[in-house]
Amino acid sequence: MTYQTDKTNKKALTGGAAAAEALRQINPDVMPVYPITPQTPIIETFAKMVADGEADTEIIDVESEHSAMSAAVGAQAAGTRAMTASSSQGIMLMSEVLPIAAGMRLPILMLVSTRALSAPINIHGDHQDVMFVRDSGWIQIFCENVQEVYDNTFIALRLAEKVRLPAMVIMDGFTTSHSVENLEILENSVVKKFIGEYNPKNYLLDFEDPKTFGPVALPNFYFEFKRAQIEATDGVIGEIGEIFGEYEKISGRNYDVLESYQLDDAEKAIVVAGSTAGTAKVAVDELREQREKVGLLKIKLFRPFPYEQITEALKNVKKIAVFDRTVSLGSIPPLYSEIKNSLFSILNSQFSIQSYIYGLGGREIFKDDIKKVFEDDQKGREIKYIGLK
């Protein structure tokens, strides 16, 4: 539902409608979409906007989510802005194509309304779907509320195009996607200026200088492709600050890769991503009234994970409670795992531990390479490569 609350820039919208409103202002070039069960309200809201002439996006009603992402790859590679929306089983079905989009360095934008995975089939909100694809090479930004859904859609687009990686803007299924909240909308012209034109350097429809997209790269080259992608992904954290700054200038809203709430003097802290951060803030407020030194750390950027910022934010907290709305079967839950990883660098550990990536794409590893790791001082980069050219 959508209605005007006053004559200025305030509206009351569901998360899905806010995402559609942001899409209307972006006016994407191509949107391949599919109504998987569970369906999000984003695409039908936006389709009506196109039908009413408020946007002139080419909507392609594809026959599956696999084809939705495949068509998005085709359209984005062609040199246009391609976006889609999905959730749950839909993300599972497109999961083959997600690393392809990232590997081809195509800044596709996807709005996700998170839902549980089957079986048993459920359709309601949890984070299993986005967590399942957390290593697919996509930027992942979690939203607490409808305002953040709207704002992050623009921020993610700018970021994705800057670093040439695809991005997911993640809202909680039903809790955010179907709940009406007040939000502030920007002027169309302000949005247009903020997102700018999409002018990729390499694109498929360049007939003067034709390119081959998606080649075969065997063990002699594959690793280097991945290294470039790893560096681009790590580079997100360095690029996002400037975009947040620019966004604050046009919106007055100040964002960061995480949000610290009552954390300065907190002895105990909750760590959470998504809409539960809102509920947790109320819980923190009530405990603070009882003079409990509690706080909250809200994770916004989950991929790439901002380890340093999180270590800094939590370094003085004595007791940490990490909330995961997902499971990692046979392992510990992903957010908990990442928080533990973030804290390792400030624990007085007896261990010296170093990460080595080796053998990508079939690159050979030899006995001497293995022996050499013990000569490494294990200083410098947290991740090092064996066998990279």
Binding site: D61, E63, S64, S67, S70, L205, F207, V216
Partner: protein, 303 residues
């Protein structure tokens, strides 16, 4: 080789000796002067033409996955439509989106993606080079593999005569999508293929070409023989050359006295087991099916 033919697809690719795919691709692409974007799905042709840091492609090319040729083309078509609508490319400029896919990527894993793209009416040509099995992975049966063929996953043996199922009638499936033009062609009849490709390029909307591609590896024949064996496929009515245009069917090559199917079968190792005792029955069944299919096709033309 003829330099004109290598303007879009260069020499130096690594397809097998005696492979007809490059001839199919060059013949098709040579049939238009419009700018072309090539979509390729995972398979023999993709791995032999794009080995990084080299590429055989002198036109824009994209490969994404195995089963998404139709959807990838749909996305590019959507991009072209938007760019045209928004005045970023000229409304008069025709851009041809051409998919090349094998039978595995078309009959089987990519059928849904193809069906969706045909049904939505995207402006693209889909060319299936049909070598009747999964050859990039070494020769497993596909929905295009003929009855009786020996493949890695339908091996002939004491208890088996090879593939037990008939091939899928892909042309009928495609035509059921109400597209304007679909044609069956053969790598051994390049003039016929060129005529069909030219016709296809002039039409708007989805168009489909199914091209027989005799494969020396799977079919097991000497590399010098693909044209002769391709010709036998048509001369025995195993692979008639025909086209469908706007509701009408036309046979492009026919003889009053088709050769017995046996003449086609005996040239290939994949049917070798049928020439041992007990194989006559299978060959008879195959001949019967070929005759029936030909009869059905002739009826469609008469209508």
């Amino acid at each position: 080789m003829n330099k004109n033919l290598a303007q879009k697809f260069a020499p130096g690719h690594s397809t097998c000796a005696g492979c007809g795919i490059p001839a199919i691709v060059r013949t098709v692409l040579d049939a238009t002067a419009d700018p072309v974007v090539v979509v390729n799905v995972t398979g023999c042709f993709e791995v032999t033409s794009t080995l990084y840091p080299y590429t055989s492609w002198k036109v824009p090319y994209i490969h994404s996955a195995f089963e998404n040729g139709g959807a990838t083309a749909a996305g590019i078509d959507g991009a072209i439509k938007t760019l045209r609508k928004r005045g970023k490319i000229s409304k008069e400029k025709r851009i041809q989106v051409v998919v090349f896919a094998g039978d595995g990527g078309t009959y089987d894993i990519g059928l849904q993606s193809l069906s969706g793209a045909l049904e939505r009416g995207h402006d693209f040509i889909y060319v299936c080079y049909d070598n009747e099995a999964y050859m990039n992975t070494g020769g497993q049966r596909s929905g295009a593999t003929p009855y009786g063929a020996d493949t890695e996953t339908t091996p002939a043996g004491k208890m088996s005569f090879g593939k037990k199922e008939k091939r899928k009638d892909l042309m009928s499936i495609v035509i059921a999508h109400h597209l304007k033009y679909a044609a069956q062609a053969n790598a051994a009849y390049l003039d016929d293929l060129k005529m069909k490709a030219k016709k296809a390029f002039e039409i708007e909307g989805p168009r489909f070409l199914l091209v027989l591609q005799p494969c020396t590896n799977l079919w097991k024949f000497p590399t010098s023989q693909y044209v002769n064996i391709g010709r036998l496929a048509t001369e025995t009515n195993f692979w008639p050359l025909w086209e469908y245009f706007d509701g009408k069917y036309k046979i492009n090559w026919a003889t009053e006295n088709p050769k017995p199917l046996e003449e086609f079968l005996k040239t290939q190792g994949r049917f070798k087991h049928l020439f041992k005792s007990g194989g006559e029955k299978i060959i008879d069944e195959m001949q019967k099916e070929i005759d029936e299919n030909w009869g059905k096709l002739v009826k469609l033309v008469d209508v």
